[in-house]
Subunit: 245 residues, 2 copies
């Protein structure tokens, strides 16, 4: 527990699922402590995971501590934070739609993860390379175009307000969409380059997110960790199968 | 759109993710139409998936139509339904905790699905059997005990109110936990039998759910579809690897 209103707990060396929460907190300008990146933070995180806080322990990071609440599951954390910081419209329909889209992005992110870990999270990528190659083929040829086409289609249908996935201003879903596209650009640059001409609205949306002052400042700061091969979005050139399409 | 307050849309021949919504509607005694199981229902479902309703189309079933709202993503549907039908406590902390647990169960269910589809959803199980065997080994020896142990631990910590995962009465999370255990008993009977002695509280909770009058009536009705090898929980004896433990 620190003096900041929010304590975020996540693995300290990767963007991972914690990054969706970091982006929302940064856009909100909300003071927060990224606990596990500070002294003693990993021990504090493991203690809560082991049941050391009141209430129900998280199954896994990320989780957010706000006052007496300990909140886990990325989409759940964002569903809690967003209305407090103007990152989702007020009405119930919009909040349900935002949660629906965030959960769809979470499913997409799970599938990205499984391209390099199709057999078991507990094994190294190097122990499941043949399976990963098969999984990445299905992912890059079917699932990635399907998910991205779905989100492009939402913007295409929203004629006149296609600058945002939900509502008339930047929501946490826009931030999450930017993060997913950034990760795909890192992990699958050849595949994404090939798909990009079919995704003009998503690409423009992601660019606009990077131009928001607080997000721009965050991305230029040391708080933004680089992508790497311990996270969800990993660049293994042999899985970036654009040439086979 | 029918005369019932709720129209549920889901694949008509499997329990799948739609079953979590069916169980909540049944326990609530809420009138609903399981649209795709009726005449013309599949066409109606495909039309909405293709963008034929106002608002944001679902990425996939299940989705629920309630008045002007079309709500997709299982956990999102339940988060919407539960407070309207007394299936979750009123306070924000409990609702966040319920959503957190439901999303953790959804992650677990995704991993169950991937035991028979580790390579691609678009391929048959028969086209990915060696990969499925590897994935199922990791699932049954590591992930399944970890997830089930996590939920058992929640009940164990909740001394004095260990009859429910959340609050002091049956919530949608209890119903979902019952459904997951039922599915595991179908798909992995040998593994579950071996783990059962470590899960006394979960086993008792699931049994109590089956004894609730509306759930008992539902389970005995034709509305309850049988498990089968087209759903998420599939019984392939070669993946039920208890003997190797």
């Amino acid at each position: 527990m620190t003096d900041a209103p929010y304590d975020l707990y996540y693995w300290p060396s990767i963007q991972g699922r914690g990054e969706f929460v970091r982006l929302a907190l940064e856009e909100a300008g909300a003071p927060y402590t990224d606990v596990a990146r500070g002294p003693g933070g990993m021990a504090a995180m493991m203690k809560i995971l082991g049941g050391g806080a009141h209430g129900i322990p998280p199954f896994a990071p990320p989780f957010l501590v706000s006052g007496a609440l300990t909140i886990a599951q990325t989409a759940n954390i964002l569903h809690f934070l967003a209305p407090r910081h103007g990152l989702v419209p007020d009405d119930e329909g919009a909040r349900l739609a935002a949660n629906q889209l965030m959960l769809t992005l979470a499913d997409f992110v799970n599938e990205v993860h499984d391209t390099h870990h199709p057999v078991a999270t507990g094994l190294y990528y190097e122990d499941q390379k043949p399976e990963a190659a098969r999984r990445a083929h299905g992912f890059t040829t079917e699932r990635m175009p399907k998910f991205l086409g779905y989100f492009e289609g939402i913007l295409e249908r929203a004629k006149g307000r296609e600058r945002h996935l939900i509502g008339a201003s930047t929501s946490y879903v826009d931030l999450a969409l930017f993060q997913v596209l950034s990760g795909l650009e890192y992990a699958f640059p050849r595949v994404l380059k090939k798909l990009a001409p079919t995704l003009p609205r998503l690409t423009a949306l992601a660019t606009r997110v990077t131009e928001r002052p607080r997000i721009a400042a965050y991305l230029a700061s040391e708080r933004r960790l680089p992508f790497n091969e311990q996270g969800i979005f990993r660049h293994y050139p042999e899985l970036d199968l654009a040439a086979k399409h």
